[in-house]
Symmetry: D3
Subunit: 338 residues, 6 copies
């Protein structure tokens, strides 16, 4: 079943230093355009859905390049507003082994998206044309202007009968000092509206300020997630636990909490080529599995396989088709059988 | 005679699309770091002087890369302040033939340099260690903070007996509406202090608001420059007239007004590989010629040859040695004799 | 006035040897995707219209890459059929100076487009959604299958009240021995339907087999074009005369024959960066000028400026906006005034 | 002892997407030229023999580039026929981790080699000048024309007293439906002539249609290979078992069946940089070991080390010298001792 | 405490074949400039010290490029002599897996450094301005001229109260036949002067010709190092034991012998991106730890972490800051806890 | 008529800075292998002859890469000796406009070729297998060892009835002070043996020490060349006059003096992409024209067209076929007719 899925969020320019060099060692950069919304709608486009991005891009050659890039990914650009002069950027220096990757943001707060005013978007009209909208904690962190837009859009969608997916991804650097406290009420407001939330026990503990006596990650998760679902009346919660063995090797386990039951994927260990955007690949997998009415086990396995493939793919935005993800689900079990 | 020459100004990251592509066509960028001050001190370093830059760079990998790049150019980095998070940038799409080059600025107003506060710099102490300081109209255009710093530095230098060179380069986009009017008093204040000014009749007409009955470029120049010199008590004024025949072919003539006499170079036509920073190469040539006590004709011919070589060199910052410029002066006359 | 313009034709992969090297000297290729239809609709998209391509692309990663590329250009991909395994290609070795460029075709006859069967396309339905369709002599040359599809589409469009533009571009290598004779009846059939034809006197002489006593290119043109217009009842004919001074320098003059009157552009001489696709830029300029109801002089000047800009732009497909073309029209006259 | 070894087979252009990107993500390709025959004769040239390729290349810049590339590899190009317009190609998108590599063929059936007619080659004359000829199942799969040429060449060589090596490599996609059945009689015809066959139990089971009651790979091999040797009177059979642990890590074991005895190498696990052409490196190692009269254990160990080095070398064609392979044999045992 | 550290040694051009290719497969090279002295002073500059290099570079564009590169690394270039026409070079073909890296030297003996005469340097004056000087066995191996310069500098420094660090790195290819015997007296002469020596038991056994009855690497080390310290009166000796598991995976353990006590680091296993220069990163870590008065355990752990980070960094010269090394020390223990 | 042409001379590695950058600005180099002998035999191979190079290459990966490269050019490598450790190199920084190109030699005198001893080559045996040998003044300049080898080879060839072509190209930097005087007797010795000499009046005046009262280049040529032909009994002399209008634009005129008559080409002006090796393209054209018995006018026009095409081709070694040169001869006259 093909759905029309939109995301509301910032599009950023990613400027990556090639070949594991530092910015002070190189003289060229590879660039692309991404953002949580881009990654989600780009991934779902590969799964056969219609993906649109609701955002504002500047009226400059950088804005042109960003829009072209989104179109290349297959994302519908007809809801993009072009206004202002500024695009958020981040520079990526890839780590290797124990040397961590470094991200340097530039020009984020002044970007066309973060300075767009409310009247740019016609949220009610948009809400009528879209089945599902994806929001995330990064957009929520930006400023009051953007925050208000997000909420308006969410309410309009709810009214129009659409589905809301919210990804918590809390970024401490964006919220500043005492950030979890700052964020709490905004998160709660969205939790009340959300049909699907991507999170884990860390978000419950820190952002929502909940408490558990459990010690292990797993036990904390199993204690807190049902409470969150209950408290905010959220039908579906999904998320991952990740271990970083080395900059080039990660381990991932996914969970799905639905109809008051947990379903877990196996823990899978894999090589990492490009780690940014892989959480969005997981979320996209969950959304697609739910749309297609997979079994709970298949939903979470599909989402994890989607995330693993995103780790093996250049760029932030997932590029795997449904068929390729299904194949990567099987390869996994093959590996276990060997 | 080796002099210690400093420049006060912003260092920017230049991000150039390779191979005459547009930003929407490419996926990689070549980067370097430049700015009027960088170009002037980098050029004079090649001529054998000691060049220092007085500026503020962010405490980020971008700041590290900028500082490394300046050091590679041979510029003394010991007066650089490291503070803040932001570096100004510009994206360059090279034109070809009738298709003009496009420059897209990013993140300029928020840069570490443009938000640095007065107490970062110890201008009086700096003034004691430096023979010549170069200022320019771009720095003057930034904001009140930077403007005030420029003036404080200029006064300190004057007091310490140093030489002030001021390059008018008026940028309409930075001054906004009614910009010439906005700029006038600030320009006049610096003109009063300057020992050498780089300008032409356009600056006299528009920024200083002077008037002439002459029609041709040349006659306007010869009418207005002596008046400017007289009015603001400026010992030396130099500048150029440029014709753009095509994106790849320019024509340049230089002039020097010194001891109430004009000296003109020949008009020289030449191929253009990289046109940004070539005005700074002219100014550097004037400064070097004056330091070395060349004849007036040699000063202006050296400056024009320096500018022409900068048009044939990759990057903003001139890389020619004195010997190479002297050779390019002769090649010129050879061309004429043929 | 925004129009919906489609083109029916093959999409090819262009594989270009970088840096003026030969295939036997290099080890890498730059690739993009183009074709007359791509160039026309891509250009008109930049002028603000909606451009769609009606074609068949293979069900392979090459087909995916082609479709992504068209989307990046802003071309609507919703009429693209995905079928078969094969994509036409051409390898381009750029010439320099007197050394000519070389084009090597690969896999053209077996391509998905050239082996697509009639039932892939629903021409009548398409005809209802489109204002203008662009056909060209290259498509007509392919084989009976494709030829028949072109004609069916043209008739359907005519019936639905759409506008037909036909570009003669006769390719001797595709028609083989006695090619003009082979082609004549097919060309005539389309001429009968066309509203706008792109051609010059060479097509009248050779393909249509007409005769003139005039000797010069210009006189032949002025003798034959009115006869063609009259004979086939074509309201508008446009085209160019081109002189190749050198691989890097061309001269172009455009003409428009409309309402039984000729309008000519100036002869313009310019530098060439990438010459493929520039005829399509001229045709796109004519179409846009006609849509926007420019004066006849402006139409032909706009078309020539569009063609010149395409010579200065990397890749086959024009990327200039209306504003940029208007500016390049003026630059021309500026050059003349100097 | 230096031998003159030839291979009869197609030369293809390999077009590889750099940096693990997809075709839809990149805009450049690295190219080289290869094929089983190229890999075998290129490898044996590195071992000090004279290697010639018997093939047909097109009369185009692509053909020139292919011939230049073979010459660069040290392969004797004097038996190459230049005819026709078309070269087979394959596009390679490198996989990473669980994401598999993808190969897209283009233009294979129409290639100059696959449409060359019998009279191009003078097989009897060739047979007199060559000691050993390598044929493979890929060439056998092409079409009747090529199949017939292969058989004619093999018979001529047999008559002239030369040695025939045949590598089974069965490609299902080339034989189509019911492929093993289609292939059987052709394989049997070559088996009757061959002195050395590269295969394993899979070929016996599927292509030759043999039967075994054994279950494990190893037992099936040990049951079937002696039967094949006996049935077709083949003096020497060699081959490998391969496990793919991950796209970047493989495990390989080689075997040699000679004088009715099996010799096995250790199982070696190793990192993979470029996996295509590594089977040919194994076959080349077997041929060289036999020519040089190594012990059976050394032959199979040398062949496996040759294959492993090919996995660590860019491009399809092995580049290791005998000395380097001998060193890699030892490194292996070192690893075991640690 | 910021120290002024100099190194006396050759600067070489490193020309690296990209992408694991062989020189016979590629057509481009990446270049940088390095040498033991460059690596040591470059690393210490990153740790906040002032690093100077005492060397001679040619008066050619290669010399200019080398000097620019050192300046980019932050190394003080004011003690560099420019003389002669020749720069030592080495070509690097990166190995992969079992395929070893290959280094091909070029032009080493004729280099400006190796033919510089004694009067170029004013060692006594230098000695007064520098706190610590680093010498190494590579410089000692060059020729009598350079050897004598090294010794003169060392004696001058000793007289001026400076600290001498000597790294044994014995290169058999530079000393030729019977090399250890040739080298012994020169090594002993420097050992008598040195405050810190980088070595392990191999140097004691082979170069110094000492004897031990112990069998294991560890026991030999613990037997011989105290004897060396005692015999030559060396306060501090440090070094490493390295196991190469694979071209991409190494294991390292560091030791420090100080105040007659051994301190050992853990054995750490890690991925290798670029292995050249990593011994210098260890030595730099020891020097910095001693300057900053770290605990013995912290000194050796810091030095090993510095070496590991250098394995993960492009180029010969370490680029990690003190903060980054401290972090990499911790990551290690984290890994153990998991 | 296919001839076997050999050249005796050094093969050098060319390391070119890309994109008009300086060595101090770039971090990568493109490399190839060339030399006068390589250029001559490479060009004649393209014209259909068999070209062999008689030289010594080192036993290193650089030697392997050089040999592979020559094979790629189609040059027969069977007369190449592999010995020693060292290959001559030159670094090329491309100039632009008035900025001249810079060449920096490295490692030339120590190269395997320049230190090869006489017994490496079996000149008498070689002389029997070769029709024509090309020598040049660069080889003659190297050292006594190489000089003696050249002369021995020339005498052996003369004895065996072969044809000797000698290109004067006098390089002042190789002969040092008073170089023309040093060179004279060696040049005269070869002149006595030569059948074809490439030179112009400059060589007669300076190297041979002849005198003329004529002033203009043309008159000096017409006075001196017949005298040289007469004095040394040289049947054929050819050469060029070149004007450098700009780094990117040259003008060339060729002459042929044969049977006591001068034949001149037109003066042709053309764009320059890569100027090194173009004199060798002229010489190759002369040789081919003489072999094929072209008319005198065609010989010199063919040679000039060959040189012009070499200016438009990447790399030192000409790559044009006879057909392409014939076409470039015509293009020239076309240009004149327009």
């Amino acid at each position: 079943m093909i759905k029309h899925i939109a995301a509301f969020g910032e599009v950023m320019m990613r400027l990556q230093v090639p070949d594991y060099k530092l910015l002070s060692q190189a003289d060229s950069l590879n660039y692309s355009f991404s953002g949580t919304g881009v990654n989600i709608t780009g991934a779902l486009t590969c799964f056969g859905h219609r993906g649109s991005i609701v955002t504002t891009l500047p009226v400059t050659p950088l804005g042109d390049a960003a829009q072209s890039f989104l179109q290349k990914l297959g994302i519908d650009s007809s809801f993009i507003i072009r206004h202002g002069q500024s695009l958020g950027m981040y520079f990526l220096e890839n780590g290797f082994g124990v040397r961590p990757s470094r991200v340097t943001y530039s020009n984020r707060m002044e970007s066309s998206f973060n300075t767009a005013t409310h009247d740019f978007y016609r949220f009610e009209k948009l809400a009528e044309q879209i089945d599902i909208v994806h929001f995330c904690g990064i957009t929520l962190a930006m400023n009051d202007l953007v925050r208000q837009q997000l909420k308006t859009f969410a309410h309009a969608l709810k009214k129009a009968g659409g589905t809301i997916i919210f990804d918590c991804n809390f970024r401490p650097s964006l919220w500043g000092k005492n950030g979890h406290h700052q964020a709490r009420s905004h998160y709660e407001e969205i939790f009340e509206l959300a049909d699907i939330v991507i999170m884990n026990e860390k978000d419950a503990l820190h952002t929502l300020g909940m408490y558990t006596e459990k010690k292990s990650e797993r036990n904390q998760l199993m204690d807190l997630i049902p409470k969150v679902a209950n408290l905010y009346n959220i039908p579906i919660i999904a998320g991952t636990h990740r271990n970083i063995l080395d900059n080039q090797t990660h381990r991932l386990m996914g969970f799905l909490y639905k109809e008051e039951r947990f379903t877990f994927s196996n823990k899978r260990t894999f090589s990492v080529l490009d780690r940014i955007g892989t959480g969005d690949a997981f979320a996209s997998g969950i959304i697609h599995g739910l749309i297609e009415d997979f079994s709970n086990q298949d939903i979470v396995d599909f989402a994890v396989a989607s995330a693993i493939l995103a780790h093996t793919t250049v760029g932030d935005t997932p590029r795997a088709t449904e068929k390729e993800v299904l194949q990567a689900m099987k390869t996994c079990s093959t590996d276990v059988r060997r």
